[in-house]
Symmetry: C2
Subunit: 414 residues, 2 copies
């Protein structure tokens, strides 16, 4: 079964709104074993809508459409669908009753304008909308079954789950294939390095499709597999995962799609260990990443965001002499910051960053992109210096944070 997505609406066409529906719908279809071949988007314009619906009607078996079901003059999906299917428009009583019921359940009077939402193509089958006024509908155009859903994401998602997916499964019948996706997250490789190193995985494991995705600053390696035998698919993905881990070693930090912060958090929890941070150049980003993980209060105790030298000495106990002799961005300073954070919070590990995120503040000796990272463990204190070459402050903050977490991850005994 070949499927396409059509998102409609001037706000999406003109870019004032980013279309998140198409990605969501594609993922749902791919998970259900339906190949999505193409996304389309046009604005609120009947001839354009009719043309693209007829095109898709000649190319695909299934099309999911979002938007254009509202009560206003620029909601044109029903009109365009009727023209593309060469049928008339009539008031659909099922649809009208569902709209009336929506207003009645909220003790509201239905405005006259909402009556328009019940005027649907003659051949349409109504798809109920339990969470909004706009009913969806389904009909055949050319060789293709179209499902028309609202553009509001939560209404669309509800309709997709309740009404559309069951109808798609019905069309697929007993025989539908099973699909599996596996994500391996890596850090420390560029996309092209990762690509080169794993390119031959598809020869080693025929039937596997490989994808690479740069989700700065990590690179994700994705495997796609489909077939009828669930256990065989899982085995194939497991073996391919081990193959990649053999190649890339501990550059692979997660095989579940978990973030670096979640992986580090799980390691800390497993060991009954706790973490304190001292952040200068990362400015709270590491703490924010760690605390994005639910349950992080189990292991995350404290971060001192010591932007000023006074805070470095006052809160973390960094020696003014160290700051004077070596500067804030130095191995010596991050050692004392890491030890200070660890001591102040009574944590197992202390992790510290100090660097120059830019765009200003760089010197010849310590250019923008320089970061020093300190790690205090129960055994020892170590410090590192790195230099990155990214053009934006936010990217530097992000790679500094990721590098620091990666150093901690490798230091926690396995």
């Amino acid at each position: 079964m070949i499927a396409e997505i059509l998102s409609t609406g001037d706000e999406i066409r003109s870019g004032s709104l980013t279309d998140t529906n198409s990605a969501w719908l594609s993922q749902k279809l791919e998970e259900a074993g339906v190949d999505v071949t193409r996304h389309n988007c046009v604005g609120d314009d009947v001839p354009m809508l009719v043309a693209v619906m007829k095109e898709i009607g000649g190319r695909a078996n299934l099309c999911l459409v979002t938007g254009g079901l509202g009560p206003t003059v620029d909601d044109l999906s029903a009109e365009a669908a009727a023209r593309a299917a060469c049928v008339g428009l009539i008031q659909n009583d099922t649809a009208l009753r569902s709209i009336e019921a929506f207003f009645a359940s909220r003790n509201l009077t239905m405005p006259d304008s909402n009556r328009k939402q019940a005027v649907l193509p003659e051949s349409a089958q109504v798809l109920p909308n339990p969470v909004g006024t706009a009913p969806g509908f389904s009909l055949i155009i050319g060789e293709c079954r179209f499902f028309f859903m609202p553009g509001v994401p939560y209404e669309m998602r509800q309709m997709m789950a309740d009404a559309v997916m069951p109808l798609i499964h019905e069309i697929q019948g007993e025989d539908r294939p099973i699909h599996r996706i596996k994500t391996l997250s890596t850090f420390g490789l560029t996309e092209s390095m990762a690509g080169q190193q794993v390119a031959d995985v598809t020869s080693a494991f025929p039937g596997l499709k490989l994808g690479l995705r740069a989700k700065f600053p990590e690179i994700q390696i994705k495997f796609y597999a489909s077939g009828k035998d669930e256990a065989a698919l899982d085995r194939l993905l497991d073996e391919a995962t081990r193959w990649v881990q053999g190649r890339l070693g501990d550059k692979v930090f997660s095989t579940t799609g978990a973030s670096m912060a979640a992986v580090v958090g799980d390691l800390l929890r497993e060991k009954g260990a706790t973490l304190a941070l001292a952040e200068s150049c990362t400015g709270g980003l590491i703490a924010s990443l760690m605390t994005d993980v639910s349950g992080s209060s189990d292991y995350f105790l404290f971060s001192g965001i010591t932007y000023s030298d006074a805070a470095k000495t006052g809160v973390l106990g960094v020696s003014p002499r160290t700051l004077e002799a070596h500067g804030a961005v130095s191995e010596e300073t991050v050692r004392e910051m890491a030890s200070g954070a660890r001591r102040v919070a009574g944590a197992t590990y202390g992790l510290a960053t100090s660097g120059i995120a830019g765009p200003s503040g760089g010197t010849d000796e310590k250019p923008v992109g320089t970061v020093c990272i300190g790690l205090a463990t129960p055994e020892k204190v170590t410090a590192y210096r790195f230099r990155y070459h990214f053009p934006r402050r936010a990217m530097n903050k992000s790679i500094f944070a990721m590098k620091a977490l990666d150093i901690l991850r490798r230091a926690i005994p396995g």
Copy 2:
């Protein structure tokens, strides 16, 4: 001039990545007075790419393509473009030199795989990529000029600004209309409330187009105007801005597109004031937002991310009795946190958060979504309690942080 957008790549086609490039590019084209009629997306599949390029070549005058320029086997844009334009592929020396220069400037050896990125259609004009390895290119297919850019957003945006927009302006000639966009950022209104309150701005100012954009947790009100008279356009936008400010008052926190953190930072700098934070539930997010702004070390001194009670007492001097009597999430505790952060860092203002971001940790008395915010100024210490109803931890952290910054913004004397 009629334009289309084509985004390519299996990760977008299959929905594992949301396409943000198409919206961004459409907005840039619309701002430049180019009508975008359609977005298209297909995967890494040469016949499919060729077919859609030929289609667009017969429909549009201009097409912006993203993705498929990388060094790996699934980067197929150059091959597909050559086939669609019926020309051969050759090694482009300009492109090769630019890739070599990219690696040389970083003291890296160019991997052999990157050589592929210099193999371009014979008729292609190279578009330099100063921030990545993949050069872009431009060529004619059918009746349409195509611009091929990388899929990585920051590389694409840079190439669009440096190379593509100047070429589009050249095509448009002298006569192109001037377009202006004005962004008013608001906090404290829902999208529908904002929409209702400013709906009649277009009757008050004919010629103005109104757009609303939810950029959680802020709502942006956007004005679009176009014409030939630059001064008249600026006047129109200024008057409309004042009209909206009259309606919404200080719910409008920026008329330049600046972030809340940048607005607060500018206020602090103007007053020669400094800021210290004490964050519990926001976990470093406020500090990270503040330090995303370049030059923030002028006014941002310190944040204590005191997730544990021990850190609240040890670092910030919160009294254990207060914690015991009222709990960590209480007006009493955030008062002491704010005062403690202010005192420890020697700052003008101390701002503190403590709350329950969820999904776990809520109680009947303090449900998920509860946040207490404390503010210590040179004159007094105040505390507030709010309750939000968002379904996700990240949304709660984000709205807690924004609310705290908004309280500080309103407290800094104007």
